[in-house]
Amino acid sequence: MNDMTLLERSVEQTEIKISAQDVQVWYGEKHAIKDVNVDLLDKTVTAFIGPSGCGKSTFLRCLNRMNDTIESCRVGGRIALDGEDIYDRRVDPVQLRARVGMVFQKPNPFPKSIYDNVAYGPRIHGLARNRAELDEIVEKSLRGAALWNEVKDRLGEPGTGLSGGQQQRLCIARAVATQPEVLLMDEPCSALDPIATSQVEELIDQLRAEFSVVIVTHSMQQAARVSQKTAFFHLGNLVEYGNTDDIFTNPRDPRTESYISGRIG
């Protein structure tokens, strides 16, 4: 399995996983996303960057229809996953979300035990045949999210009793355990120390071998480190999208440039 992963990773993938065309989002009167056109590739990490409040989370939530839960939110345009319009009437958002997983910006662990938090996804999707398999998935996911060592002795304690960064990693583990094809991560390392961050980044890199990952981040360094593609949002517009290297070294749009050059850490 390990070898295969390595093997596949080397193969260049250019297949389009998610394609967004003319996406518009309104919160009531507020036009939060304007005319966004972007193709997210399979087996690729895409970074969304942009100033706070520019619509990154909003766009991310469009990709697995989490915006459905916000009453005032309306979405226009077309978003296709593997060529199928996800806003089609016949599409079941449940199935969509099982394939397009999400880590939210604010950690939101369930008021259940740490174990149950991670086991939740595998259980509802029937990913484990028995308890042993489930245990294995839970452990693997928690290891992937760099949380295993800290919580292995307290798996039965509530996930809400963890520290902020621990909760964040728990939510990553929870999302990973569901084994989605596309993983949307909204600032997954915002509350993590550098070491935990690097471990999560490593996890992202591994996931890329088989899946597509979208990550929102405020750290240019992180975007540069983990992503192959980068999209820069500004005031609801997708200003620039391209190879990460190009964006950071050679931005075409002056806004992108000023954002990147204004960087501090």
Binding site: N64, M66, T69, P93, V94, Q95, L96, R97, A98, R99, G101, M102, V103, F104, K106, N108, P109, F110, P111, K112, Y120, G121, I124, H125, P158, T160, C171, R174, A175, T178, P180
Partner: protein, 396 residues
């Protein structure tokens, strides 16, 4: 009524106290309220409370201890106390005075007082029944009461007053009522808070609440005239389970309908209060809405829902009219749900409002029944508290 005049004057004094003290505090701070420890309105409230509370307590205690005594002395005393409170508050007012803390401790005292009312009520209930229960057990042996399996009061003496058939009836009817109301109520609550449109919800919730407001006699007559005969003709007789029009099933079903809003409305509020982020978390993992509800929302809302169910159970235990008209008045221990049975509460009411000698055990038994029921439900509540503690999932 001189007392109500006194009351009015005290309240007026309190209002004056508020205004004056507030102004004084501002003046002391030289118009700059930032120099005060507490906001001026806290100084005002401090004075108002100090003026009103002691006087009001005096009036209340006076009225309680000497209900019909002369009140001429009371008025000046109360007014004096109020004035003293006001003066004291005025003296205390100073920029450094912790008026907020003072007001908050007074308010906290009031809050404590309010919760003590619950304790007082319990004490009152126990005391108002203990005495007569004692009389009852002087006239009737406690063994026969607690372990007797026959309930047949007689006018001429020689009654058998065993509580067991009544207890059984109470449990049986309540269980059926809960078996109807809890699933329906809970599902209704879930539907309203998770699925329904705002419009449907804004209509359905108050509409269902009307069910709780329909007088129980309507339910009783509904049981007696419609449900009872229907159950008898369509279920009991074809299944060979007897031909009684009044039955545990009838009363349980109808009572269950009455209890729906108790479960649905309270649960709906609690479910609605579960933070959206938890739902998002579950939905984001690809759960269906029902999985989200069952596995995340309901566990988080459990304590409130248990509270709602307990409230419904309490109403079921305390209901009389529906039982009388739906389940009949016969005390019986039977497993057949299509047989007539009755409950403790019904018998409390009927023995209290009957034509018996009021000092006879047949009447006094009502108090013993009441006290026994009280203790029984107390035990049930302790168990419920323990269970909730154990399974509570605290969010955030």
């Amino acid at each position: 009524m001189p007392v109500s005049w006194t009351l009015l004057i005290v309240l007026a004094l309190a209002a004056v106290g508020y205004v004056v003290t507030r102004a004084r505090a501002i003046a002391q701070a030289g118009g700059d309220v930032r120099r005060l420890h507490s906001r001026p309105s806290y100084h005002g409230w401090h004075a108002a409370l100090l003026t009103a509370l002691p006087a009001l307590f005096l009036i209340a205690i006076w009225r309680f201890v000497q209900p019909s005594a002369e009140v001429t002395l009371l008025t000046p005393l109360a007014l004096l106390l109020a004035a003293a409170g006001l003066a004291f508050a005025l003296i205390r007012t100073a920029p450094g005075f912790r008026a907020r803390n003072a007001v908050e401790s007074m308010v906290k005292g009031l809050l404590i007082l309010c919760s003590i009312i619950a304790i007082l009520t319990t004490a009152g209930i126990v005391f108002s029944m203990l005495f007569e229960t004692g009389h009852f057990f002087q006239k009737y042996s406690w063994q026969d009461f607690f372990f007797g399996t026959t309930w047949s009061p007689k006018f001429g003496g020689g009654s058998q007053l065993g509580i067991l058939p009544l207890l059984w009836g109470t449990i049986y009817i309540s269980l059926i009522a809960l078996a109807v109301s809890v699933p329906i109520g809970l599902f209704a609550a879930i539907y309203m808070s998770e699925y329904a449109s705002v419009r449907l919800r804004s209509v359905a919730k108050p509409a269902i609440e009307v069910l709780a407001g329909i007088p129980t006699i309507v339910y009783g007559l509904f049981a007696l005239i419609t449900v009872g005969p229907a159950l008898r003709d369509w279920f009991a007789q074809p299944m060979g389970l007897g031909s009684s029009a009044s039955s545990v099933m009838t009363a349980g079903l109808v009572m269950g309908i009455m209890l729906i809003p108790f479960v649905s409305s309270l649960s709906d509020d609690i479910i609605n209060a579960v933070p959206q982020s938890l739902r998002d978390g579950a939905l984001g993992l690809g759960s269906t809405q029902s999985e989200t509800v069952r596995k995340v929302v309901l566990p988080a809302a459990l304590p409130g829902i248990v509270g709602a169910v307990l409230l419904a159970a309490s109403r079921a235990i305390g209901e009389t009219m529906i039982v009388v008209l739906g389940a009949g008045a016969a005390a019986r221990m039977d497993l057949n749900p299509f047989e007539a049975m009755t409950t403790i509460t019904v018998k409390i009411v009927s023995q209290l409002t009957g034509d018996n000698d009021f000092a006879a055990p047949e009447t006094l038994v009502a108090f013993a029944l009441g006290l026994t029921l009280f203790v029984t439900t107390l035990v049930l509540n302790i168990v419920a508290l323990y269970v909730v503690r154990k399974y509570r999932e605290q969010y955030e």
